[in-house]
Symmetry: C2
Subunit: 200 residues, 2 copies
Amino acid sequence: MANNTALPLVILAEQFAKLPGIGMKSAQRLAYHVMSMTDGEVQAFADALINAHSTVKCCRECQNLTEGELCPICEDDLRDHGTICVVETPKDISAFERTNEYKGVYHVLHGLISPIDGITPDKIRIKELLSRIGKDNVNEVIMATNPTVEGEATAMYISKLLKPLGVKVTRLAFGLPIGGTLEYADEVTLFKALENRNEI
Amino acid sequence: MANNTALPLVILAEQFAKLPGIGMKSAQRLAYHVMSMTDGEVQAFADALINAHSTVKCCRECQNLTEGELCPICEDDLRDHGTICVVETPKDISAFERTNEYKGVYHVLHGLISPIDGITPDKIRIKELLSRIGKDNVNEVIMATNPTVEGEATAMYISKLLKPLGVKVTRLAFGLPIGGTLEYADEVTLFKALENRNEI
């Protein structure tokens, strides 16, 4: 922003620019937009920020973000507490819940192992997962990290820790996306689809 | 967001989604990002929102956003107060200031006449502009609204109000952008470039 702009506006734009995916131009536009909001709207926005950050914590069991000690999924006795789906972020839980098919519980790692970024296994919530295996009567752990280098490495690392404990460890299936076409499938996806083919 | 998400997070995402250009997916991502910020960072963000909104007001003269009664440009005696550049938004001032060429002052309309959206001439800061013409010794008013239907209409409307007052009213030049090519110029731009050709 040019130096003719009021300082509090510059400061606000810099705050917006710190958010992921928002560049300085968008941040400036958002700061100007805040000027056109009413006192009540701005207060509600500021309150929502402080309130979400101060009241939302990690679930004691699955590390999902929640207001209470336990998240609604871990509290739900109708869910299968013997099946744990291991995901990278709380967002991934929303994706699974939208399918309305999965009835087990989750475990959020809050990251993936990535030594190049300094994220060693002790930086993500692996020990919390291991402590659940002993406590609950866990039959199966589904590794649902993304099919990326870090996602695969993390899934491998955790499965090696879990197998000696006698737990069944599975991985999400990879193949052609439904509605996708062979023509546009990349080689790795197509190879996976071929490798994991099923009898019909 | 799925209903398994903590309510304060949903509320925060809804606040983000109210901002221009931020959809529900991005808003959700931003809300999750806030969770990973420190207490101090979140407080600084909330403070910047409240502070910018409560301390930044419109300049008494030119209606630009400023902290004081007068903006730094209107306060500056070295600027030519006899030339007023009329723009739609405070952002446009930053664009002109970046050229380092314009030495006059500004007037921010805070909108353009658009009857279809219910924006009649009395909804934007036209009367504030007219009151400046009498007070200061104004030689020239440069209409610098965007070359859109609303921008042109607003420029025309204001110029008709100003001409009887004996003020010179000018409009920004329209033509080929510098660095642009004839091949990619649209017809209207090319027509304007031809119409406003200059002797060399």
